[in-house]
Symmetry: C2
Subunit: 322 residues, 2 copies
């Protein structure tokens, strides 16, 4: 998951002088530096580029800001007419600093360390664009999607095209693997899940694979439960990220025979540390390490997480033997 | 789900003069009246008593208030020492207005209409008591539960005892069935789900059934996904409420052979209305009406829902033939 972030003092040091959160994302030297920080400290197997899923609306001409204690803030888009304000031609130039950060990071990273590029999935990015920020019930986005699927589909089409382009550009800039975050996939009811989570992701994967057939793609349909099956069944998906609510015996029997799985320690165990963290990490390792598996968290590291707990978890995982 | 509420003008009329939200819950005449309002207007098969899951901490001596646009606000409890401030002896007297509202509602309700009493499950109620309100990540509650399970277990024990008592008292006051809401069950990782969702609910059900062996009990482990199986397998569970994210074909094959299922139209369809609502309602009816099934929403009715959509949905459901 997010491997750079507010739990590292060296990150906070850079963050405080970097301007806004998006300024940091768009300043290649600094974005590369904070991408490398956790690798230097803990020697993880992979680095994920420091960026945000909302660079896409920002690049399309729907400016994004981050308000302390609130989260992202955007002017809402809720009609097909308002889609006219989005301009896909701005994308490459606007996102060039992200690609520059990838090039720089790839140069400075050791060969054995994988560099992951990423994007939000269309449904999740659309919720922010329609709601104007985070949401409790996604009422505006769902209402639009349910009652005018063809119009809402135009927004999804723009996002499919933009995200595909952004992912391909990240591979060209040095990303060794890609991850697609559909953080709010689990909030969709069944038919809508197929239409607005599975289908757009499948189109993105086809588009990326046409240009970059060998790049591994990891998909994170957060809180999708049983419906992880539908994502794992998609052509071109190499791995799925598991949120912390998925049952591991079910994963072992139903997903691991199809794709690599990655996850799923609840980040609160990393906050708590001690015996609880060890027991839970070992349970995950015991259940999943017999098949294709990447140990990871179920969600991002929380800011007050003690650094020693992260180090201890790394030791538990790297020292573990089946 | 919540069948009284802000979408009814007659509710808003009463609400505006009733003082705080909890004042309304604790005024038997008004609580009974708003319980009956949707039954009068739409003739639903069942009424659910107008109350709140947070009357339990309020009754135990951890006062609850509701802040407009924020939600419930409580002084936090985060240590085993702070549990000393909770007093179970206050419970019956403090909650007597709820029981009086049930008695009154049962008298005024036609015999064919079921009256449902309810409570929050211990895990969900505990999250509000520990976080001091709603939460995004439940970090304080989970940290306490994961790192000091015996201490956190003392809070859960108090809640198991209080909720059991509250549910029995509701049956004595006229409730024909009971529903247990574990709204945040789905946020627990696997081991913790067994420990803090399944086990406390199972203890509550045993306790209630000892006194009231015939009362049907519905459990709502929201967002539990695949783990709905664990709740459906519990002795004494008559039905499970399905949130809108559960796959219906899976439900039909795996849950409906064990218990009655209730759900799961996304309330946003009710907001949207029209063909989308009809198609989705019919899909649910087609998939689930071959077994034991109660048509319902996957979550509460949203305040801006048009009243005509509710009437139309009632017609779709009552006129539907397999």
């Amino acid at each position: 998951m997010r491997q750079a972030g507010r739990y590292l003092p060296e990150y906070r040091e850079i963050r405080k002088d970097a301007g806004t959160f998006l300024d940091l994302c768009y300043t290649p030297d600094l974005a590369a530096e904070v991408t490398l920080q956790p690798i230097r400290r803990y020697g993880f197997d992979a680095a994920i580029i420091f960026s945000d899923i909302l660079v896409i609306p920002d690049a399309l001409g729907q400016p994004v800001s981050f308000k302390e204690g609130v989260g992202p803030v955007l002017e809402t888009i809720r009609t097909v007419e308002e889609l006219a304000s989005l301009d896909q031609n701005r994308l490459s130039e606007h996102l060039d600093p992200v690609y520059e950060a990838l090039r720089k990071t790839r140069r400075d990273l050791s060969e054995e360390t994988t560099l992951i590029g990423f994007a939000g999935a269309p449904w999740t990015v659309a919720t922010y664009m329609v709601e104007g920020g985070t949401s409790r019930d996604f009422a505006n986005t769902k209402r639009w999607a349910f009652s005018a699927p063809q119009e809402f589909g135009k927004l999804i089409d723009i996002l499919v095209a933009s995200i595909t382009k952004h992912l391909i550009a990240q591979v060209e800039a040095g990303a060794d693997a890609l991850q697609i975050f559909d953080s709010w996939a689990g909030m969709l009811p069944e038919t809508a899940f197929d239409q607005w989570c599975v289908d757009p992701i499948s189109r993105i994967i086809s588009g990326v694979k046409k240009e970059k057939p060998d790049v591994p793609i990891i998909v994170f349909p957060r809180l999708a439960g049983y419906r992880y099956l539908k994502i794992a069944a998609l052509e071109g998906v190499s791995a799925v990220s598991l949120d912390q609510t998925v049952s591991l015996d079910w994963v072992q029997r139903n997903l691991q025979n199809k794709v690599t799985v990655q996850g799923n320690l609840d980040p609160i165990y990393l906050l708590a540390g001690g015996d609880a963290m060890r027991a839970e990490a070992e349970r995950i390792l015991e259940t999943l390490s017999g098949g294709p598996f990447i140990f990871n968290l179920g969600h991002g590291v929380l800011p007050p997480t003690p650094l020693d707990n992260v180090a201890e978890l790394c030791e538990i995982v790297s020292g573990w033997q089946r």
